[in-house]
Point group: C2
Amino acid sequence: MQEIAEEAGVNKALLHYYFRNKSRLGEAVFRRVATGMFARLTAILGGDADIEIKVTQVVETYLSQLSKVPYVPGYVLSELNQHPERSHQLLDIVRTLRSNPDTPDFLGALSKQLTRAAREGRIRPIAPDQFLVNLVSLCVFPFAARPMICAVLQLDDRGYERFMKQRAATLTQFFLDALRP
Amino acid sequence: MQEIAEEAGVNKALLHYYFRNKSRLGEAVFRRVATGMFARLTAILGGDADIEIKVTQVVETYLSQLSKVPYVPGYVLSELNQHPERSHQLLDIVRTLRSNPDTPDFLGALSKQLTRAAREGRIRPIAPDQFLVNLVSLCVFPFAARPMICAVLQLDDRGYERFMKQRAATLTQFFLDALRP
DNA sequence: TTACGTATTAACCATCTGGTCAAATTGTAT
DNA sequence: ATACAATTTGACCAGATGGTTAATACGTAA
């Protein structure tokens, strides 16, 4: 709390005045960050664009958005793994996202879209859950695991940057290739 | 330290006797866990099996191995994101893995294998870095992000279990489909 | 100006935490 | 049995940490 107060140029007691205690402050931060991380995803997937368009948009949005706040995935994952109560909060966030904007049931919409496209022979059949997790894994993991990737691939900062640039150029095609019938 | 000592059924001072201080203890734990996480990966990828076989083996090995210690990815990622010094340690671990066993330069081997298979028209061309990160993302992320997945997909423990079972049955094919020429 | 609610701070407290040390216990070679 | 090193412990300490409170500064409507 002391550290945070200093960083904010403010007295420690003021933090308690606004957030009551440390765990509530942590909750508020998590809520804000996690919401930002999921908002655009559900918005895109809940829309009515073609599945190929959606994939393209998700990849581009995530890679460019997270490039600006690369610490987000690592933070959210750490938080989720270390404080079980965050799971409930995330559930709440997802529920809010689902009701508030114009994305009533993005998972249901996605599901129908996938089965229809498969029936028409435009893509291979795939369970919507697996589709979603595959897509998000490929986009988010490289940010959360940056130090791991740099170590294994022996990249410095510039090397990682190059790697991510190449990724932005190839990931969409990779994913769509996997869906090809 | 107190908590750890109790869990180990031992006096707190004994931990300091063996590990000197908390950060060294953390280092030792990280070293052991991270080594276990990467050993099999480099062993498989450094071998001389066909690329399709390697993919199959990595997926199967990771999904079954991590199912037994599902906290590992989350722990390693958290550790890496919160303590920058872990990056150096991981680099050290990777270096050790690379020299000790019979996997001298698994990345170079993989690279040659991929370009050759692409030249022969057996797979699409793909950069080895992207290949590796794609594969690991798809395997590891679902463990690290379990709470996230459960929240978004609204799964309870049994639902997650079903999801991972289905994943084990479909992931290899998904990845190989992406490589199809 | 006064009055009053909001915002902000300094000082303080209880507790927790990592770490140390001297003493005690155990193992073992002679 | 003795000597000596390795192991294990209880007691203690200094500093850090989350949290509280009473007092002060600030904005603003009457």
